[in-house]
């Protein structure tokens, strides 16, 4: 057992958030190469449980999680807590919601 787990930001090349229509927020996590993708996949770092913990949300607020080996990518989609542009909504383009994912722990195998 050695030290702290790595964080996703140390392995991913792109971590971004965006609208997928007015009712969903979607996150793309892309890696520069297959090796980094596999480290994260094999550590099971991006799961419903991990995402729910990072955002302090219920797991049923997560719409889907996809693994995309051909693109060395993961995709996470949430139901928006407030519909895009409605009163109380704070990010019309949904493009600044990615930060909690940057610090997801990636346990070493």
């Amino acid at each position: 057992m050695s030290g702290q787990p790595q964080k996703l930001r140390e392995l991913a090349k792109i971590v971004r958030s965006k609208n997928a229509g007015p009712f969903r927020l979607t996150f793309d996590i892309l890696f520069a190469d297959r090796k980094a993708f596999e480290v994260v996949r094999d550590a099971r770092a991006i799961t419903r449980e991990a995402v729910a913990r990072a955002y302090k949300i219920r797991e049923d607020q997560i719409s889907s999680i996809y693994e995309i080996p051909t693109g060395n990518a993961f995709k996470v989609t949430l139901h928006r807590p407030v519909v895009q542009g409605a009163m109380g909504e704070t990010d019309v383009y949904g493009c600044q919601q990615h930060v909690p994912l940057l610090d997801l722990p990636v346990a070493r195998g």
């Binding site: 520069a32 019309v92 919601q97």
Partner: protein, 450 residues
């Protein structure tokens, strides 16, 4: 002989957001068969569909349409604009068409102009609802007759078919209302006999222009479709398409990376491959077209929730920051009681705490020495919204609380007047699928010779 190569030039990700003149000239030198661009989406929020105000300035739209139409006419190729004006409603289509007519007059250009509307009447939607031909897409609620009655503008996303009809009619410039982005870009290759699966997948990656290149930008992108595959190449020699940039864009702004639903069809992308076919080119294969049994279109509708007034202020005093939520709520409740109007809603956005992430912010504590506060009031009319917003800001300004040192005022107002009327406020109220009798039923085509 059927045409084997179909080249689409997309000048930018959104008409009016700009592109490089050199990149455009270089792209035109690659002999495209069509110039096709997307002009909007729901991404900027419900305001544009609700208000009918265009997304971009008239200056930007006219400048870019002029470049595209002049180049298209010189090369003898059509120009296609999808989701004209931003939301693609009638006001947006008419605004864009008026600019096109002006360009034709001023530049002495003559061409056949096609206008395709995409508005859905409340009556048509109510009928569909009564026939059980409406289903939820992602809204999370079923549509009711009352919601249809309350809706302002409603548009449906057209597929490639209405645009193909316009091309068959000889249109040389096509201004389409709300269109599925991918399909608007794919329409010309499909009209010319290309595989719809590859054409629509290519449209999906092209619709944001050079956002699928690296470095990404609002700029020119070309798609070259041949039997069995398509290739992507940016117009500017300073950018390249890479496997990562293109595959990444294939995921962009959508949920399911393997299945892409569109009007009347789904694309199965699970067998796609991306390979570097040149220093600046990526080759894509594998999309499969799955035709739906019935033809459903996606509807987008908004309702007006009232009129909005905002106030922007800063808070620096730690005694107020320490008790912020409690004091904001106290003034909110007092204001609601004072005005006693059921239409009135008051909200706060606290920058420096959760102003960006709202309910998704996992870190609850305020770690900043100052915060930015936006007060928002929405009410049945602007006068009440402004009155209530001023009552809240005034209430907070002069609020006395335990531990207060500064008896002169609690808010640093950014502007005078401290309240800013933001006009009508809208929210998305329809995001549903509706069954149609044909792919062109909702999308009437008008032709005129300019």
């Amino acid at each position: 002989m059927t045409k084997q190569t179909h080249t689409v030039l997309t000048p930018t990700g959104t008409l009016g957001y700009g592109f490089g003149a050199e990149a455009f000239a270089r792209g035109m030198a690659m002999s495209p068969d069509v110039i096709a661009v997307d002009a909007g989406s729901t991404d900027p929020g419900p305001h544009y569909l609700g208000s009918g105000e265009p997304l971009v300035s008239r200056i930007s739209a006219k400048r870019e349409l002029t470049q595209m139409i002049k180049a298209g006419r010189a090369a003898g190729i059509p120009v296609i604009v999808g989701s004209a004006g931003g939301a693609g409603c009638k006001a947006h289509v008419d605004w864009t068409v008026e600019i096109v007519r002006e360009i034709a007059r001023e530049s002495n250009l003559h061409f056949k102009l096609a206008t395709i509307y995409s508005d859905v009447s409340r009556e048509r939607l109510a009928e569909a609802l009564s026939r059980n031909e409406v289903k939820d897409f992602e809204a999370g609620f079923q549509l009711t007759p009352e919601m249809v009655e309350q809706a302002g503008a409603i548009v449906a996303q057209m597929g490639h078919e209405p645009i193909v009809e316009a091309l068959k009619a000889g249109a040389e410039v096509i201004i389409a209302g709300r269109a599925c982005d991918d399909c608007a870009i794919a329409a010309h290759p499909i009209y010319s006999g290309a595989d719809p699966a590859l054409a629509i997948h290519m449209g999906k990656i092209l619709e944001c222009g050079a956002f699928s290149a690296e470095p990404f930008a609002m700029d020119v992108m070309l798609g070259i479709l041949q039997p069995g595959h398509f290739e992507l190449e940016p117009g500017s020699p300073n950018r390249r398409a890479s496997v990562t940039s293109v595959a990444a864009h294939s995921l962009y702004e959508r949920e399911n990376p393997f299945l892409q639903a569109g009007p009347g069809h789904q694309l199965d992308l699970s067998a796609c491959t991306f390979e570097q076919s040149g220093e600046r080119r990526v080759r894509v294969t594998g999309a499969q077209f799955l035709e739906d049994e019935d033809y459903w279109v996606k509807l987008e509708g908004v309702r007006q929730t009232g009129y909005r007034t905002i106030c922007v202020a800063g808070i620096r005093c730690p005694t107020l920051i320490a008790r912020l939520d409690e004091l904001l709520e106290q003034v909110r409740v007092e204001t609601l009681e004072y005005f006693d109007d059921p239409s009135l809603h008051i909200g706060y956005t606290v920058y420096g705490r959760d102003g960006v992430m709202g309910a998704l912010e996992p870190q609850a504590a305020i770690s900043s020495q100052e915060i930015g506060l936006v007060i928002e009031a929405i009410a049945v009319d602007q006068t009440l919204a402004r009155g209530a917003c001023h009552h809240v800001s005034g209430g907070l300004l002069h609020l006395h609380y335990d531990g207060l040192y500064n008896t002169s005022g609690n808010l640093a107002f950014l502007y005078s007047p401290s309240e800013i009327d933001a006009g009508p406020a809208f929210e998305f109220s329809i995001y549903h699928l509706m069954k149609v009798t044909s792919p062109t039923e909702l999308f009437p085509l008008h032709l005129e010779d300019l």
